[in-house]
Amino acid sequence: MEAVLFFAAAIGALGGAIGVIAMRNPFYSVLALIIHLFSLAVLFLLLTAAFVAAAQVVVYAGAVMVLYVFVVAYIGGGEESAWESIPGQRLLAPLIGIALFVELAIAVLASSLLALGTDGPDVKAGFGDPAEIGRLLLERFLVPFEATSVLLLLAAVGAIVLASRRGAATGGSGAASAGTPREGEPADAAPGPSIGDLA
């Protein structure tokens, strides 16, 4: 039963990952990533990490993917041009990826970690559930936990500053002086959702 679940989730995760890089339209890439994230949540459940699986579904497949969908809808799901600026990029990139996987697989299979070949030790019933993780976060890892909250605040402020209309307008004159063709400043007046508006 566990093996069936593992292989089903592994195929889902791998298919989603390949879908992300194979789809021509970025919108379909985002949808493939959602499949990938749900399959990973199943894998986390198999590894008795219930809280991480729940956070994966709620934070990633919920919030972050909504942000992606909004941005892809805003910039338009244009397909990238077939022109290659680096000759042989289509051929070389998969080769380098395969080489990386072979290296990692050799490193894993040749490692001297004997416990790798086991199912892991028997754990007590509450392993990885929200109560245990919450106790760890608020006792042992209190300082990193608070540091991540500051980091989140900084990221939100940074995104608002980056995507605000005022920031685009002040930088726009620099773009015009650099020779980029622009059809007047008021081009930014087109209504459209942005991260700054959504936040």
Binding site: L43, V71, L100, G158
Partner: protein
């Protein structure tokens, strides 16, 4: 299931993400491939935490998730800013830092 399976799957997903970053040129898809690599790292963190029977790896995975969310927010803000300035959304054409 052996922990080894999870680690091999995680390295496969990481390699797919790295190949995608080399292959694609749209910044949105490159961010998505970064997500793939971060999630592969998360999978191996959780698998190793199961292997030692210790929950601290899961806390680490949660912190990685937070950092990934921050990276997504800033990256998407940059993409929106690039789009607003009518610059091409192609990383090969965006290789100059000015303007």
């Amino acid at each position: 299931m052996n922990i080894e399976w999870y680690i091999v799957l995680s390295s496969l997903l990481f390699a797919v993400g790295a190949g995608g970053i080399l292959l694609r040129r749209s910044p949105v898809v490159i961010l998505l491939c970064l997500e793939l690599m971060l999630n592969a790292g998360n999978l191996s963190l959780v698998a190793f935490s199961r292997m030692v029977g210790n929950q601290e790896g899961q806390v680490f995975a949660l912190v990685v998730m937070v950092v990934a969310a921050c990276e997504v927010v800033v990256g998407l803000g940059l993409i929106v800013a690039i789009f607003r300035r009518r610059l091409p959304l192609d990383v090969d054409e965006l290789r100059e830092l000015r303007g």
